[in-house]
């Protein structure tokens, strides 16, 4: 029985996750052909995927993911801190309220920004009414819209891990720092933040990593123009049907994910070790 409990999910995941992933890795080294590939070993796909326009897209995507990830984590930090340390008995309800949008459809949440940011929409109207703006504002199709949409989409999941670490820091620790004369800011930067490192890193991981493959937001708010890796990948599979090149791009996305994860793990390294 104990073996069955491990074998059943293990075998299923091998079939629907591990094997498809290995196939993609194998395809990335194959010779591209017209709508099909011949297996073999070549680095040509990677050469193409790392050259010219593709390289530019790659850099753009990484910059966007890291930037938006950092922005989400920073915006979520005061929210998580307030819920963990000041909300008292409302903490559970507040956390649920923050997370609820995350569990509702991603499509709805992105879609509503389409009207909010469009010309004649609420943002435009309010800015006009305040006299801050005189030309019609249409943010749809701009990079700003993509950034807003992405940060909005991932904000709730950036709050959760930071909430968990903030709520585990004993009050006596910060009280001790206060007794020793540390002000609020000093207490936060030299006591709370170092202790909260694993949660901050997890929040960065849960936001920046999926952003590397983001597909829906740039399509709906970026006008489908400002190409990101996810869209490039979709184009290779659906339109160009160059599966070998597509697979190489997929593997490169995974490499970027791996590098990001390794960097974030370094941030928390030494945390679980006993103090010397």
């Amino acid at each position: 029985m104990p073996h069955l409990l491990a074998a059943a999910p293990g075998l299923w995941l091998t079939a629907v996750f591990v094997a498809p992933l290995l196939l993609t890795v194998a395809l990335s080294f194959a010779h591209p052909g017209f709508g099909d590939v011949t297996f073999g070993f070549t680095l040509d796909n990677y050469r193409t995927a790392l050259g010219g326009l593709y390289a530019q897209t790659f850099v753009q995507t990484v910059v966007l993911a890291v930037g938006c990830g950092a922005l989400s984590v920073l915006l979520a930090m005061p929210i998580a801190y307030f819920i963990a340390r000041h909300a008292g008995r409302f903490a559970g309800a507040l956390l649920a309220a923050i997370l609820l949008p995350y569990f509702s459809s991603f499509l709805i949440r992105v879609l509503s920004w389409q009207v909010i940011l469009a010309s004649g929409g609420p943002v435009d109207s309010v800015l006009h009414a305040l006299g801050l703006l005189h030309a019609p504002l249409d943010l749809i199709g701009t990079r700003a819209a993509v950034v807003i949409g992405i940060v909005y989409g991932y904000l709730p999941i950036a709050v959760l891990p930071q909430y968990v670490v903030f709520s585990r820091i004993p009050r006596s620790t910060t009280d001790a720092a206060a007794d020793l004369g540390a002000g609020a800011w000093r207490r936060f930067t030299s006591v709370v933040l170092p202790l909260a490192r694993p949660g901050v890193a997890t929040a960065a991981l849960l936001t920046a990593v999926p952003m590397l493959g983001e597909l829906v937001v740039p399509q709906l708010l970026g006008g489908g123009r400002g190409l990101l890796l996810g869209q490039l990948l979709q184009t290779q599979y659906v339109q160009s049907q160059n599966y070998a090149l597509g697979s190489a791009i997929a593997v490169l996305i995974l490499v970027a994910v791996g590098v990001l994860v390794a960097l974030l793990l370094r941030l928390t390294r030494g945390f679980d070790e006993a103090p010397r």
């Binding site: 104990p2 069955l4 409990l5 491990a6 059943a8 999910p9 293990g10 299923w12 995941l13 629907v16 996750f17 498809p20 992933l21 196939l23 993609t24 915006l75 979520a76 929210i79 307030f82 000041h86 909300a87 507040l94 649920a96 949008p101 569990f103 509702s104 459809s105 991603f106 499509l107 709805i108 879609l111 509503s112 920004w113 389409q114 009207v115 909010i116 010309s119 929409g121 609420p122 435009d124 909005y152 904000l155 002000g183 609020a184 990593v209 999926p210 590397l212 493959g213 597909l215 829906v216 709906l220 996810g230 979709q234 599979y237 597509g246 697979s247 997929a250 996305i253 995974l254 994910v257």
Partner: protein, 266 residues
């Protein structure tokens, strides 16, 4: 003390603003679902109130069949990930061999950091190479890795707090492994399993990326249908349909919350 209070107030304001920013778009999309629009198109300016969008959405046969298919897929996905994900989460903590535990946990971490689009293209290629025609079952199977890991991680967190001595006591008293599972482990894990299963359902029903690659013209889901219809301009019906989905999601999550409370108290 006053400084502490003002920091606290400032943080409270930030938290309130955060909540407002999170909910305003949702409320607006509900509001716009009642917008009349111009010539059957959604407009950023509110042009008048109407329920026509709801009637349009209801009468759209492909929208209805997509919603129904999505519902069926989500039910199958929830059942499979509830069972396999729970077994996975349990084995991650309790399996006798450390190597197996590490491998199972590693698979979980890999899935958590896997961008959906990479998994989607891999599954599409895999099905193509094996010659499996895309359809209902391939779509449901494709959803399972992402939803199983959600169930597994929630169940794993519960198993970690479960006193191992309870299972050992059962074993000492001569209970079979099956009996230990049925009488001790499953009842203790049930709230976590149910919560995970409901989340798996909503994840599957709302999924866009994996579904976009693995649906076919005849087997489509609601988000994919809406997503592709957006290429032809936004019809108010889209907002009506998403509002209905939002209402359904809130009901399902509400039920999950109540179930969680009911099963954890006893």
């Amino acid at each position: 003390m006053t400084r502490l209070r003002s920091t606290r107030a400032a943080l409270g304001v930030v938290c309130a603003l955060g909540l407002a920013v999170l909910y305003l778009p949702l409320l607006l999309s509900v509001l716009y679902s009642f917008n009349q629009g111009i010539d059957g198109r959604q407009t950023a300016r509110l042009t008048g109130w109407s329920l026509r969008a709801y009637a349009d959405a209801w009468q759209d046969d492909s929208l209805r069949s997509a919603a129904l298919t999505g519902l069926q897929v989500a039910l199958v996905v929830a059942a499979v990930s509830g069972l396999l994900g729970s077994a996975w989460g349990y084995a991650m903590v309790r399996h006798a061999s450390a190597r197996v535990r590490r491998a199972l946990a590693g698979l979980g971490y890999l899935l958590v950091i896997m961008p959906e689009v990479v998994l989607a293209v891999s599954l599409l290629q895999f099905a193509g190479r094996l010659g499996v025609p895309l359809g209902f079952l391939t779509l449901a199977a494709a959803h399972t890795p992402m939803t199983m890991v959600v169930v597994a991680l929630i169940v794993r967190a519960r198993v970690l707090t479960l006193d191992r001595r309870l299972e050992d006591a059962g074993r000492d008293l001569g209970a079979s492994e099956l009996r230990i599972l049925g009488d001790i482990v499953v009842p203790a894990l049930l709230p976590a399993v149910l919560t995970g299963t409901v989340l798996a359902f909503t994840f599957s029903f709302d999924d866009v990326v994996i579904s976009a690659f693995l649906t076919t013209p005849s087997v489509s889901t609601l988000p994919v249908y809406l997503y592709s219809s957006l290429n032809y301009g936004t019809a108010p019906a889209v907002y009506a349909a998403t509002t209905a989905v939002l209402a359904l999601t809130i009901v399902v999550l509400g039920i999950a919350g109540l179930l969680h409370r009911a099963t954890t108290v006893t």
